[in-house]
């Protein structure tokens, strides 16, 4: 038979059938009254899911384009920017600031560890002229969830604008942007939001918009002033990816029908179960458990097994696709994503296949042991 693919990478994530149906909908004119009415309703849903009263601007690009919009509209050459780097996506945000000429103050943390708030506090104290802080909510490369609430407080006290890369976390983990003082929130469709890649969303607080007004960096496609002007008419500055708007709308309907709190609780449960399962197989998690993301589980490769061999066997024989490590973690870890359109049985599937593949590669694993540990979480025997 043809291979049945189980996509367990941190984006693109599987599409619910309702989203796939929306993708196939016929084209409409993006300047039509009907599309504007649709966009207005979509926007109300986005504000609910992004937990913000600020305008949510939609850009046709992937997450990195949204990060570029955050930087290109706020950073002038020579501005002092504090970049918090604890993985590949932290590096990306930092690199973007450098490209636009910022004087970047980098705080690097070991990959797999959370950003340390005391270090950030000290850096802000030592550099009162830091204007913008770049942070990652869910560092996809390490499976660490960083403390955005804590960073929000520090930035508020300092007066800096806080920009958060919430590309992979938003819609899976609680992030009350306005309440926590997130000034620039960037996310994208293809992770917890269960929609194919191609749209980024960005919202700015009034404090962040003030920077936009003073920004002289070149920008056109990613001009947030142009996006805001078009948004006032429920329009976009340039032709939007219409099909992805339809798909995003269908996905947001699913999220709002389930309820944000229920979605977050589901991801917490799946995260706990995945970690318990992995630990029961004698494998080691990359991050300390209290900093582990509920959306993906980063696992150190077992001794004597090449991670790439493990991933290849899982894919070729079982149709299960895990992500590998990136950059300095390449070949050292694998990552099991459980974000978006995922349920308990998906975690069982992942662990069951992992057990077989490990066994076939000569690891001593108790078959069914990881599965059982996860089952206990689902059946209520393990405190989350």
């Amino acid at each position: 038979m043809s291979r049945k693919l189980r996509l367990m990478i941190p984006g693109p994530t599987p599409m619910p059938p309702q989203v796939a149906e929306a993708m196939a909908r016929p084209m409409v004119g993006h300047r039509s009254k009907g599309f504007a009415e649709f966009t207005a309703k979509l926007h109300a849903k986005l504000q609910q899911v992004l937990q913000t009263k600020n305008e949510v601007l939609i850009l046709t690009c992937s997450g990195t384009g949204g990060l570029e919009a955050a930087v290109a509209n706020t950073v002038n050459p020579g501005d002092k920017v504090l970049a918090l780097v604890a993985g590949k996506f932290g590096e990306r945000f930092r690199d973007l600031a450098r490209v636009f000429g910022a004087e970047v103050l980098e705080l690097a943390f070991p990959w797999g560890m959370p950003v340390d708030l005391e270090t950030v506090r000290a850096a802000l104290k030592a550099h009162p002229d830091v204007k913008l802080v770049l942070a990652t909510q869910n560092e996809t490369s390490t499976g660490v969830l960083h403390d955005i609430r804590g960073l929000g407080e520090l930035c508020r006290d300092h007066g800096a604008v806080l920009a958060v890369d919430a590309v992979s976390g938003l819609g899976g983990v609680d992030l009350p942007a306005d309440a926590w003082g997130v000034d620039i929130l960037v996310t994208a469709t293809q992770k917890a939001l269960m929609t194919p890649p191609g749209l980024a969303m960005i919202s700015l607080s009034p404090k962040a918009w003030a920077l936009v007004g003073e920004c002289r960096s070149p920008r056109y496609y990613f001009s947030l002033e142009a996006a805001k002007k078009a948004h006032a008419k429920w329009n976009t500055a340039f032709t939007p990816a219409v099909s992805l708007f339809f798909a995003l709308d269908a996905a947001l309907d699913l999220i709002l029908a389930e309820g944000l709190e229920a979605v977050f609780a589901r991801h917490r449960l799946l995260g706990t179960a995945a970690r318990e399962g992995v630990k029961a197989l004698g494998l080691e998690l990359l991050p300390p458990e209290e900093a582990a993301s509920p959306l993906l589980t980063a696992v150190k490769g077992p001794e004597g097994v090449k991670v790439d061999d493990l991933r290849k066997l899982l894919l070729d024989k079982y149709g299960v696709l895990f992500a590998g490590g990136q950059s300095e973690l390449k070949g050292k870890i694998f990552r099991i994503a459980h974000m978006g359109y995922v349920d308990r049985v998906d975690v069982i599937t992942a662990l069951g296949a992992l057990e077989m593949a490990l066994s076939e590669l000569g690891c001593k694993v108790a078959l069914g042991g990881g599965v059982a540990a996860a089952q206990k979480v689902f059946l209520g025997g393990v405190k989350q």
Copy 2:
């Protein structure tokens, strides 16, 4: 019954069912071996349709993002750039060059008229330091097809790099990029290529790549060096809009199965029929007929009728959506697109509905007169 929409705007254009089916395909990992193999095959098809041996890089953005990539990777502040402006999209390319600090020499032509080659020749002669020429192939705002072949010769003689916005024309009108000396070719999915919006394609000649190497303008998401590096592994620098890759592939299959020459001939035939039909109704075309695009027909609003009233009636009562005029042509023209997934009957539909709507708005039209004129073209009675 619910409205049946006939989309006759110059993008997004209607999706063939094969493309809609591809849009609904399940997600796959964009870093997977399978997706790389798919991308390699897609690339071979793109080179055929773009008629170039150069690498065709795919960016997740709409056409304007592709134009920004062309400028951001080649223009240093102070560079002299010649912008040929005869409509809204010519203005956009010019504005992009200004945003990136170019010293822009603008040659403006009346909206509705083609770029005059002698004027361009004189400008290039007077400004030997022009490094880059920005041109539009099919000016969607006016329905004019500009002479890219002629511009290619002028730029070759002068030594300037020629960048062509072929967003709306490529795949509908012949543009042998390499043979005509197009150094930078930009196009997008949602016009003649019959795919929903969200991808831009760009290819550069070795002469254009030389500029990229010298370019210091800030760019990250649109970095062509990053795109090229990823492309060498059949990959993309950032997460691509996977569904749109599938859809584009399905659309290219349709174009190649029909044959490029046949596709161009079909559009020429439809263009001739649309113009004959419109003229038979006593309406005036905006461009001189020899410069009229085969992809869309721009028509001056008839005396005594508000163009917006006409468009509204056509949409509300007949489900037929024409485009209006943009910027200085707003309220003065309407535009009937016949690009992409369109056939003879679509032109008949457009004219038939137009006749009824004009009649209802008090115009004296011979019912069936426009339709008959188009039919004569299709039945071979009118020389194209």
